[in-house]
């Protein structure tokens, strides 16, 4: 039983982590493509249309990866978490079914038109199809996060005698206080990913002395969007997300921040330190006094509950993992803001395109938004443990009763092999598109 659960969890974690590498770019990039296309409609400068076309190629590849890795997600609720699906399907099935009906149809119908219909449609309608793809992907994010928010903070339900959760208030699913901060934070984070990717490819072109025009355009667009979204990620959205956790999952918050003991007169904020679970303390700690209390409650001396105030039975199961995930996310967020501020400054002094070290830093940053997004999700998911539905249904009660560990390990290995192949192919083909660059198309 124990290792069965372990493989189920590994498989879910592996497949969802891999899946989310793609939608985070899809969602942000669709907005940037719409922006390029809109600039073209306003200025009629071909450069913008070519930029839109170039990113559409990356988008199409990325989208295909998102789709093929997304379908297994939809199936796995039933295959690996049958008990969970049976008990909560009447509720989370609601938002998941809506996602399929409202967003996936929208996205996929218009993506075909967007990719192959430019000649048939003319520029204005082409812009519109792009906009609808953008709308579809953001709606998809909204509905999936609505689903997820219900697992973090269940609302609008009642529990029947047979243990089934049934919906009694549809509207509550969407006015869930967890939903809006989480959604905005997640979307801002996906804008970070896409802006950084666009800027990094631009910087790569400038440093390579290739496609210079586009290099500049990409760096400029990426840096401006990158600065805005990095700021939004931290404030107000990250701040609001954290406040939700303090309020509704205080034990999770204590573990995220590495607070083992409740302190009188305000909590310090930990910058660095390694959780030592046995001795209930942080090793090698560097911390600034009272800041955490202020950030959380706008009061330097407010009390923040430490782990010592809770029953170990409800501790998150992986406290060090949770702590690191959270600190990596926040640490990277701070670095992103710093870099983008510097780059914007140079942009205004008209020196950005010649400041080599910043361009190098931008290229080097490319993988880090992906890491920040992934660790952010690990914060949310590890923080929810040991619950599947917070405070109501334990993860151990949600797995499929009849699927043996041997079968799950078999499919986990299958997914690992297959996704390794997909990842390699993606990198190879994206590399090829980027290397070829946005050649100036012949304009008829």
């Amino acid at each position: 039983m124990e290792d069965m659960l372990f493989y189920d969890r590994m498989q879910f974690a592996f497949t969802i982590t891999f899946h989310y590498l793609f939608p985070q770019l899809t969602m942000g990039l669709s907005l940037l493509i719409v922006y390029f296309k809109w600039k073209f409609l306003r200025t009629h400068i071909d450069k913008y249309n070519d930029a839109a076309k170039f990113w559409m190629k990356i988008f199409a590849l990325n989208f295909a990866m998102g789709v093929v890795t997304g379908i297994p997600m939809e199936f796995q609720f039933g295959t690996n978490w049958a008990k969970f699906s049976e008990l909560t399907g009447g509720i989370i099935g609601q938002t998941l079914a809506m996602e399929g009906m409202f967003s996936f149809f929208l996205e996929s119908s218009f993506l075909g038109l967007f990719l192959f219909g430019e000649k048939l449609l003319g520029h204005k309608l082409h812009f519109l199809t792009g906009f609808l793809v953008f709308l579809g992907s953001w709606a998809s994010g909204y509905l999936i996060i609505a689903t997820h928010s219900w697992m973090q903070y269940p609302v609008g339900y009642e529990v029947l005698e047979n243990g089934k959760f049934v919906l009694n208030n549809f509207g509550a699913l969407f006015s869930n206080p967890w939903l809006l901060p989480s959604y905005l934070h997640n979307q801002a984070a996906s804008m970070v990913t896409s802006s950084f990717v666009v800027a990094a490819i631009g910087a790569f072109y400038i440093l390579n002395n290739k496609h210079h025009e586009f290099g500049k355009l990409f760096v400029k667009t990426g840096v401006i969007f990158g600065l805005i979204s990095s700021l939004l990620v931290a404030f107000p959205t990250g701040d609001l997300a954290a406040k939700n956790v303090v309020k509704h999952q205080p034990v999770t918050f204590a573990a995220m921040e590495g607070i083992f003991h409740t302190e009188d007169g305000g909590s310090e904020i930990v910058l660095i330190g390694q959780p030592n679970i046995r001795e209930k303390k942080l090793d090698n700690k560097i911390a600034v006094p009272n800041i955490l209390s202020f950030l959380t409650y706008q009061d330097w001396n407010a009390e923040i509950k430490g782990l010592d105030q809770f029953d170990p039975d409800v501790y998150p199961t992986n406290i060090p993992g949770l702590y690191y995930a959270y600190h990596i996310m926040v640490g990277l967020g701070t670095i992103f803001i710093g870099l983008m501020l510097l780059a914007t400054l140079q942009l205004f002094r008209k020196k950005l395109y010649t400041t080599k070290w910043i361009l190098w830093a931008i290229v080097f940053m490319l993988p880090f938004p992906y890491i920040a997004n992934t660790t952010g999700w690990y914060t949310a998911e590890l923080g929810r443990q040991p619950w599947l539905v917070y405070n109501l249904l334990r993860t151990s009660e949600g797995a499929s009763p009849t699927v043996s560990s041997g079968n799950t390990l078999f499919t986990l290995l299958g997914f690992i092999g297959l996704y390794l192949l997909l990842g390699l192919l993606f990198l190879m083909l994206a590399g090829k598109i980027i290397n070829k660059g946005p050649e100036l198309e012949k304009h008829a």
Partner: protein, 358 residues
């Protein structure tokens, strides 16, 4: 309310089979009948802008199943664990075969992805038929061994096959000679369907040849249908009892037969879309007839200890089902509009779309 969602779900699945069915069929045609680069181009152009949206019907049907019939979703998805995972992997291979082929111009690269696309289409068509076979045959609900359930009454687990390969064995498997027969029917029917789509959507040189293929395969299909209906009596002694009780249901087999025999006139159709229409009717009629014959069961039990799963004992709670109607109604209108626009813009022949060229 359950009945309403049951009809919705079955309709969505039928739409899925008709739409993605032509994709699979096109893949099979691609595997066996396309010789030149031009043939291949014609085939991928004919399905390129559509396959993704078609596959959404599967995802959306899955979503509706999850939300309206959570117990069925949980029971069948965990019980058919292995075949579903293989279907997932095949769907992945098929999609990347189609998407990645045109990205690199190299003979070996193209050959590999052509085969990936073709073979996974073939196997998917087979598996979906096998799946239907399993639903008709039923499963050992509750995992009964020697008269005792080993799981809760609505859970089960099926291995891929059993040693005796028989649908009457104590220990059932996903694949046995009965389900395999339905798998083969599905392959033949979808090949016809896919060929009809290609004839409809392209001006390729392949079309004349495909008409002959459709005609010949249709002969085989008639034979297979007769065999399967005969054999059905071995699985279910009284397969027509629903039809006898409610004669209106005969409309479904009638639709199927119209489609089946209409297809024989493939060579004389003036308009290219008609063949496709007939093969769609065949699929629609075949599916609805099968479903109608086991109604209201959705997954029969093969033991007499645990009851069948019916649409009434697997459904979600009233409130959710009621409220779902509101958003579903809006969504259906939108989806219909998208489809209208999509097929309008890409109406007519598709030879020049340039799918997958970069």
């Amino acid at each position: 309310m359950e009945l309403f969602w049951y009809i919705v779900l079955m309709t969505m699945l039928a739409v899925y089979v008709i739409l993605d069915g032509y994709d699979f069929g096109a893949g099979i045609v691609h595997l066996f009948f396309s010789k030149t680069e031009q043939d291949k181009k014609a085939i991928t152009n004919a399905i390129g802008p559509f396959w993704d949206a078609n596959e959404v019907w599967l995802i959306a049907s899955g979503g509706v199943l999850f939300f309206a019939f959570p117990t069925l979703y949980a029971s069948s998805f965990s019980g058919f664990y292995l075949p579903l995972m293989m279907i997932l992997w095949l769907l992945i291979f098929r999609a990347i075969g189609l998407e990645l082929r045109g990205q690199v111009h190299n003979k070996m690269w193209e050959a590999v992805w052509d085969k990936a696309f073709g073979i996974s289409s073939l196997l998917l068509a087979l598996f979906f038929g096998v799946a239907l076979g399993n639903v008709v045959r039923g499963v050992n609900l509750g995992g009964v061994v020697d008269g005792v359930s080993t799981h809760e009454a609505h859970y089960f687990f099926l291995p891929l096959w059993n040693p005796s390969f028989s649908p009457h064995s104590e220990e059932l498997g996903v694949i046995d000679w009965f389900t395999l027969l339905l798998g083969i029917i599905s392959v033949v029917a979808l090949t016809i369907h896919g060929a009809n789509w290609i004839i409809y959507k392209t001006n390729s040189d392949l079309n004349e040849k495909l008409k002959t293929v459709v005609f010949n395969l249709n002969i085989a299909l008639v034979a297979l249908v007769i065999i399967s209906v005969t054999i059905w009596h071995i699985i279910e002694p009284n397969p027509f009892h629903n039809f006898i009780k409610t004669p209106m249901l005969w409309i479904f087999p009638l639709i199927m037969l119209t489609g089946l025999f209409g297809t024989f006139k493939v060579k004389s159709f003036k308009k290219h879309g008609i063949g496709f229409l007939f093969s769609s009717l065949f699929l629609l009629g075949g599916l609805t007839s099968t479903v109608a014959s086991i109604f209201p069961k959705v997954l029969p039990s093969t033991n007499n200890i645990n009851p069948d799963l019916t649409l009434y004992n697997v459904a979600a709670h009233e409130y959710g089902l009621n409220i779902g109607i509101y958003w579903f109604a809006i969504a259906v209108v939108l989806v219909a509009a998208y489809m209208f626009i999509q097929y309008k813009v890409f109406s007519g022949k598709m030879d020049d779309v340039g799918y997958g060229e970069h």
